[in-house]
């Protein structure tokens, strides 16, 4: 086993370990536990968020063979959609620990969509298609949203002052969050692949 592979295995074990530890913390520590100080509370929340983000980032990179496929890329997107439904009160979850899990999942899956998109556009020359069809999804989402939910601009502005209440715009936030990852990464991927193709074309090396 080379040094590099050894490090990768070690990091993967660490990431899975962090996941299990965080899940234990989420379900073992009562969600409404009174912390002695605000600093401790913030430190606890930050630990959960950062460790989950770090672990998910590494695991997506480690299992990139799966995440560079379209079904693999869709996994964090579905997670984002699901956690968004729970977070914005579309799906009701009564248990506070489960609710905490989904709140954390919203942040982690939002980040994971970015990482998975980066992996996808790194391996596949699909940046422009992603941005293009993402725009189509966004505009038609707005059309149907406006048609069936009413004035989205008004609803969005009024939601700003009622962040803790259930929002009918949960889907829009999910779409906007995904698209804000897809747009810059898609364009960067397109430019990156273009540069790679040009360098490859004018380089001496063969393709293989």
């Amino acid at each position: 086993m080379t040094k590099r592979t050894g490090l990768a295995v070690w990091l993967t074990r660490l990431a899975w370990g962090l996941f299990i530890l965080d899940l234990l913390l989420i379900f073992v520590v009562p969600a409404d536990m009174a912390f002695d100080s605000l600093v401790l509370l913030i430190a606890y929340a930050l630990w959960l968020i950062l460790s989950l983000i770090a672990a998910s980032t590494w695991l997506i990179i480690r299992y990139r063979a799966f995440f560079r496929t379209w079904p693999g890329w869709a996994v964090p997107l579905i997670m984002l959609l699901l956690s968004s439904m729970v977070f914005y009160g579309v799906l009701s979850v009564r248990h506070p620990n489960v609710s905490l899990l989904f709140s954390l999942l919203l942040v982690v899956s939002g980040w994971s969509v970015g990482i998975a998109t980066a992996i996808l556009v790194w391996y596949r020359d699909a940046g422009l298609s992603l941005v293009g069809w993402g725009l189509v999804t966004l505009i038609w989402g707005l059309v149907f949203g406006w048609r069936f939910q009413g004035n989205l601009a008004e609803m969005w502005l009024s939601d700003l002052s009622r962040l803790s209440e259930p929002s009918p715009l949960w889907w829009l936030n999910t779409v906007l969050c995904s698209f804000s990852c897809i747009a810059p990464l898609g364009i960067a991927g397109f430019l990156g692949h273009t540069i790679r193709l040009i360098v490859q074309e004018w380089g001496r090396d063969r393709l293989h």
């Binding site: 505009i139 059309v143 502005l157 009024s158 002052s161 193709l197 040009i198 393709l207 293989h208």
Partner: protein, 640 residues
């Protein structure tokens, strides 16, 4: 004349304008040229569109080998195929390729084919086929047949058709994808405007911010500063109220659908024709290199299975009576569903064996008959007319409606006339017949539209008014911003439209005959430049330059004033028209001066003895004094 036509010499089609290149140029010009033309004075999104459609296919073309490597899991040929690699190296050098294509092998089922980007060339083959070829190569009776197969593939690189085919395919694919995307997005945008319009007209940001709970005055100020100012918002509301959404949607359909339809026609017919024709040129390459076709024909007939005679007879499994009946029925259904031969020929990507043999026996047959050329060009001219009347192109087309059709068609017809000129045939009859068919197609189309318009004017003037209003709104770039009825005097409008269009029916053929005639005269003369040094390399370039100069000067010095006089007579003596006419005249005078200067030096002079050679050139013509064969490079030397 008849003796000349019965010349025993075979025409070297590789020395004449390549039809594959002409078809490639047509495909690209029809789609890309129209978009570039539409970029003149158009809304800002036209430039990115034109640039995108130019560069994205190039990018996709550069990625072509990479995609093929992934798709067929190709790997470089190993040591076991060294003999085949050596054949490729040897033949690539012999035919003068600047680089040697690499042999790549797939374990899957891949038919022998060429692919590559600008600087990386490959010949792909399945492993089984490569093994069979290697076995054939080791059999002395078949060694040259293996060479012939690879020479054929190498000529796809030599003729440049591999990149033309690759670029044209990506170009058509990307145009179709882009236009589908544009329809999906712009339709969504149109519907979005439709659903938000009532809310936008009533929306008051100040009131909304005021209704928000729990905001400090500072936060309210911050939110208001982030939103559009009341003046800007009032302007948006005014524009929103003006927009006629039906017209916007009509505009979107009008702007995008013609590209999809035209792209589909080009892909279905012209691109397939390109694929068929390139094979004839590669066949000619084999005949030239091997000085015969006796090794190529068996390889062509049996394809990759030309070692099949070594394999034992295949064992047919015993079928039950019921299965046999089903199979017979299936065969009958299949033969009943098989389209007629001429339709299959139209959509096939390879020419039939007989056509290949005929084209090698008489290379002039590789070129289409005049009627086929006339119909395909006339059809293309109609497509151009329809395409140029879309909202995206109208700002350009409205100014110069005849330029595109006249100039593009004249160049293509002139290039196809090079063959009869070289064979010593009369070109005038062909010009008149070809232009006649092109003009007739246009006349039929215009007669139908104008006839319908006149019929409606007499029978249902109100309906005609509605149709014209919606049509003009649909093709106007500012759809929905045209207040009131557009056409005041219906009769005057119909008469003016009929007169302008009918005038074009006569002006365009007259322009085509003049321009093509001038080109033919110059090219016929050019073919007598026997003393031109390195004529085999330079004569065709001079021909292209001559066509370019005459076309440019005709477009500027004649078409510009004629179009201006017809459409905007008040601008006829304006500075732009005069400047364009002058530039055209200068180009013509300088070009003609250079042509006359070179003509005096090289025309009608035998390169062997320097004696005067009278009359026009024809294939196989010799000097009367020293019997030197003139332009020997125009002749293909091989045995059938």
């Amino acid at each position: 004349m008849k003796d000349r036509l019965k010349t025993p010499y075979k025409l070297n089609i590789l020395a004449l304008p390549n039809q594959t290149t002409i078809l490639f140029g047509l495909i690209v010009v029809v789609l890309l040229g129209t978009i570039l033309a539409g970029s003149v004075g158009s809304p800002p999104f036209m430039w990115p569109l034109a640039l995108g459609l130019l560069l994205l296919p190039l990018r996709a073309f550069l990625a072509w080998p990479e995609r093929e490597f992934k798709k067929y899991k190709l790997i470089p040929a190993g040591d076991e195929f060294t003999s085949l690699v050596k054949v490729i190296e040897e033949e690539a050098k012999a035919i003068g390729l600047p680089r040697t294509p690499e042999l790549v092998i797939s374990r899957g089922d891949v038919v022998l084919h060429t692919m590559g980007s600008l600087r990386h060339w490959y010949i792909a083959i399945s492993r089984n086929e490569a093994l069979r070829l290697r076995a054939d190569f080791e059999d002395n009776r078949r060694t040259l047949a293996v060479h012939a197969m690879f020479i054929h593939e190498l000529y796809h690189f030599k003729n440049g058709d591999y990149w033309q085919m690759g670029y044209a395919r990506e170009f058509l694919r990307i145009t179709a994808t882009f236009m589908t995307w544009a329809i999906a997005f712009l339709m969504g945008y149109g519907f979005f405007l439709l659903v938000v319009q009532p809310d936008i007209l009533q929306m008051d940001f100040g009131r909304l911010i005021g209704q928000m709970e729990g905001l400090t005055p500072e936060m309210r100020e911050l939110y208001l500063s982030l939103l559009p100012s009341p003046e800007a918002w009032a302007e948006v509301q005014t524009k929103a109220a003006e927009v006629d959404l039906g017209s916007v949607l009509y505009f979107i359909g009008n702007a995008t659908l013609p590209f999809i339809v035209t792209g589909s026609i080009l892909w279905l017919f012209y691109w397939r024709k390109l694929l068929r024709i390139r094979e004839l040129y590669a066949d000619a390459g084999v005949a030239h290199t091997q000085k015969g076709i006796e090794h190529w024909f068996p390889a062509l007939l049996l394809g990759s299975r030309f070692t099949a005679d070594r394999a034992g007879p295949s064992k047919m499994p015993l079928l039950s009576k019921a299965k046999l009946r089903i199979r017979k029925t299936l065969v009958r259904v299949r033969s009943a569903l098989t389209p007629p031969t001429f339709i299959r020929r139209l959509f096939s990507t390879h020419p039939e064996f007989k056509r290949r043999v005929d084209a090698l026996e008489n290379p002039a047959l590789a070129y289409d008959r005049w009627s086929v050329t006339a119909l395909s060009l006339g059809g293309l001219a109609l497509i151009l007319d329809i395409l140029l009347s879309t909202p995206l192109m109208l700002p350009y087309h409205g100014l110069w409606p005849m330029h595109f059709s006249v100039l593009v068609i004249s160049v293509v017809v002139t290039l196809t006339l090079m063959t009869p000129l070289v064979l010593g045939e009369s070109a005038w009859k062909r010009i008149l017949k070809t232009v006649g068919v092109i003009g007739a197609l246009r006349f039929v189309w215009l007669s139908l539209t104008i006839g319908l318009m006149l019929l409606l004017l007499v029978l249902a003037p109100r309906l005609l008014s509605v149709v014209l209003d919606s049509a003009i709104k649909g093709i106007a770039r500012y759809a929905g911003r045209l207040p009131g009825p557009i056409v005041d005097d219906l009769s005057a409008f119909v008469l003016q439209a009929s007169w302008l269009n009918m005038a074009q029916v006569f002006i365009i053929p007259a322009s085509l005959v003049s321009l093509i005639g001038a080109n033919v005269l110059l090219l016929r003369r050019l073919l007598t430049w026997y003393s031109l040094p390195r004529a085999e390399q330079r004569l065709l370039r001079v021909a292209y330059g001559t066509i370019a100069v005459t076309t440019t000067s005709f477009g500027l010095a004649i078409l510009v004033p004629v179009t201006t006089a017809l459409l905007r007579s008040e601008e006829l003596f304006g500075p732009t028209t005069i400047a364009m006419g002058l530039v055209g005249l200068i180009v013509a005078v300088v070009g003609l001066g250079l042509f006359i200067y070179a003509d005096r030096r090289y025309a009608g002079r035998c390169p062997g003895c320097g004696a005067h050679v009278p009359g026009p050139y024809w294939l196989g013509k010799r000097c009367d004094d020293c019997d030197e064969l003139l332009h020997p490079w125009m002749i293909a030397e091989y045995e059938l």
